[in-house]
Amino acid sequence: MLSIGTQTQYVVDDTSPEAGFRRLKNAGFDCVDFSLNTYLINTKIYKNEINDFFKKDIDELKAFFTPHKNGAAAAGIRIHQMHMPYPVYVPHGKKEINDFLYNVVAKKSMTICAFLGCRYIVVHGLKLREMLGSEEAEWAATEKFLDTICPMARELGITICIENIYGSVGQHIIEGPCCDAAKAAERIDRMNDKYGAEVLGFCFDTGHANLVGLDFERFIVTLGKRLKVLHMHDNDGRRDLHQLPFTFTRTRENSTTTDWQGFIKGMREIGFSGTLSFETAPVLRSFPVEMRDDALSFIARTGVYFRNKIEGEDI
């Protein structure tokens, strides 16, 4: 049976992680997407504001995350996937910062992932198309980065998942790395052959796909078994809002603007058997504190709906 998960962000805190995991369990989740990226957030990275968190040595980091590991276990929650801090490279950024992100943060993230018993870590490809001149050159840079962590992935039994992400031209959203499923499939197969292990897989982000009008069903079917994890969320097609599925409409008929039918059909066709993981942490910020547990339960309930449809109910 498909598992149902969501992010730890805004629920699991560092002072009493077990309590947060219990809230998630009570809301109806089986597992979580551990929000490692919140310890070094992207907006600060782009401002050259790098905190000291990942400067701790690995034993200190393991000690820091031990309560999280134990708390999840005590609450009966599995840490299914996590998000590596991103970006791992800032175009035209300071060399010392890029070296730190690329060589230190990435590798320590892998170790933390294994320590938490987490099978999948999601990474963002490098956003270098404008700078380097083509998607192929951009991927070559991403592959070079992946080559620095794939040996660890093989050794630790982790699958690194590349994700479809977006970029922008002014205020306008354009496709970013990994928005071509056929290319992604070929690259994943090649990397896995090279390392003789399933070191690379794919994370399909429904919200990002919606922003750039991807055909959900075709994308998912093209990826097939390479699709390992999900970031499920919704938006208005214009901004990356990370809201609940079925939230947005644009016409008086009020039908959803996101192709959830295509999503279900695609997932059904490939026989997806992993976790329906919601990347909807911002929902918890928009609901009042008193309603957040209700919101979490509703997200989990939405997961049950998708599970039933993917596992065979009539669409």
Binding site: H92, R129, E130, M131, L132, G133, S134, E135, A137, Y166, V169, G170, Q171, H172, I173, I174, E175, C179, D180, A182, N210, L211, V212, G213, L214, D215, R218, G237, R238, T249, R250, T251, E253, N254, S255, T256, T257, T258, D259
Partner: protein, 397 residues
């Protein structure tokens, strides 16, 4: 040789075409699109998909077509009925294909050899092949969107690998090469697609590009005059340069023309021509480098730096020059910075490439020097790569 074609949508009205025709004749734009969408859609909301009404409308179109032809404007290409142009409810596929066949006949009757068609599935495209062969018509399919609750998503032929597969299959079916591709920037932009990757994938199949700045709701604006930063011109230009594109550039203006008062339109249309000249110039930016045996740059700043990063190895300049005396004798990006006077000693067939935004002022300076050399402008807004970090002149000084 690239051909620029101006779509009539937005300024030639089907009910009274003569004013728009006259306005267009006042510019250098002399070819247009035989667009049946001008005639088809007015009554759909009120009357639904009434084929009898459509046929009546298309009969009336002959008068407009004649008026355009008589006015001295030629039809370079035709456009078949496109559902959602404007959005008029769910399409009736059967009616749409019947109308498409009618549009193909109108194109052939008027001596137009190529028509853009808008099927939503492969079988519909295939069904058009017998008539296309009979009428000796060339068909272009394009990247389409499909509608999910009012939100445009990638539709038929939007993914380039799929489009190329369709085109190959259609040409195989036809037994001759009668189907090609037209890239429409509106759906590509709405779906945030990497147009460089699209153009590269289409390769020889790409015969035309519908160029426009694109609004949030799919409005087509004059290139470089809409919400400029919202259209990914960089990826399009990179792609068109990558494949040495020399097909048809179709400009669509309906968004812009809706904003320009009719009284101002005659004055505005020459700007359309200039804008398209600029687009063609950007696509052909590298041509002077291929044409002349050697090059000298004028300017020793960011533009020069970007030239050297992108073209310095393939087309190494003899030197660069600058009006700033303080910089004479300096080495910049591996080039010696010389006084403009040094240009008097270069071979006559060396092209002088102005790498400075004060183009017209510098060109006048060079003309005053009575140099025989060809002079061309360089521009680094849309470069093949941007590996060089921009110079902070305050730090340098």
């Amino acid at each position: 040789m690239m051909q620029v074609v101006c779509s009539p949508v937005g300024f030639i009205e089907a009910r009274s075409p003569r004013q728009g025709i006259k306005d267009m004749l006042g510019t250098g734009l002399k070819s247009t699109v035989l667009d049946v969408n001008l005639f088809c859609w007015y009554d759909v909301k009120r009357h639904g998909w009434d084929m009898a009404r459509f046929h009546k409308k298309l009969d009336e179109a002959n008068d407009v077509i004649k008026a355009i032809n008589d006015g001295g404007i030629s039809f370079a290409i035709a456009d078949g009925p496109l559902w959602g142009y404007p959005r008029v409810g769910k399409p009736d596929e059967r009616c749409l294909m019947e109308l498409t066949r009618e549009a193909m006949r109108i194109a052939a009757q008027n001596g137009v050899g190529t028509i853009m068609v808008h099927p939503s599935k492969f079988e519909d495209a295939k069904s058009l092949l017998p008539l296309a062969k009979e009428l000796h018509l060339h068909l272009l399919i394009k990247n389409e969107t499909r509608d999910i609750g009012g939100h445009p998503m990638r539709g038929f032929s939007a993914e380039p690998s799929e489009a190329v597969r369709f085109i190959d299959a259609l040409n195989d079916e036809a037994g001759e090469k009668i189907v090609g591709f037209v890239l429409d920037m509106v759906p590509a932009s709405l779906c945030g697609q990497d147009m460089q990757a699209m153009v590269r994938a289409y390769g020889d199949c790409l015969e035309a590009v519908i160029a426009s700045d694109v609004g949030e709701n799919g409005e087509a604006y004059l290139p470089f005059f809409g919400r400029r930063m919202a259209t990914d011109w960089l990826s399009l230009l990179r792609g068109l340069r990558d494949v040495d594109f020399d097909g048809m550039l179709i400009v669509r203006l309906d968004g812009t023309m809706a904003a320009v008062p009719p009284l101002i339109r005659p004055s505005f249309l020459p700007v359309v021509e200039k804008s398209m000249d600029y687009l063609v110039w950007q696509i052909n930016l590298e041509k002077p480098l291929k044409t002349y045996p050697s090059v000298v740059l004028f300017g020793a700043g960011n533009m020069c730096q970007n030239y050297m990063a992108c073209y310095g190895e393939k087309y190494p300049p003899l030197f660069t020059c600058d009006n700033n005396k303080k910089r004479w004798g300096e080495k910049f990006c591996g080039l010696e910075v010389k006084s403009p006077g040094a240009l008097r000693s270069i071979p006559d067939d060396t092209v002088i490439l102005i790498c400075n935004v004060y183009y017209r002022e510098i060109e006048a300076q060079l003309r005053d020097m009575k140099l025989k050399n060809p002079i061309a402008y360089f521009n680094d807004e849309y470069m093949p790569k941007f590996t060089a970090k921009r110079i902070n002149w305050e730090e340098v000084e």
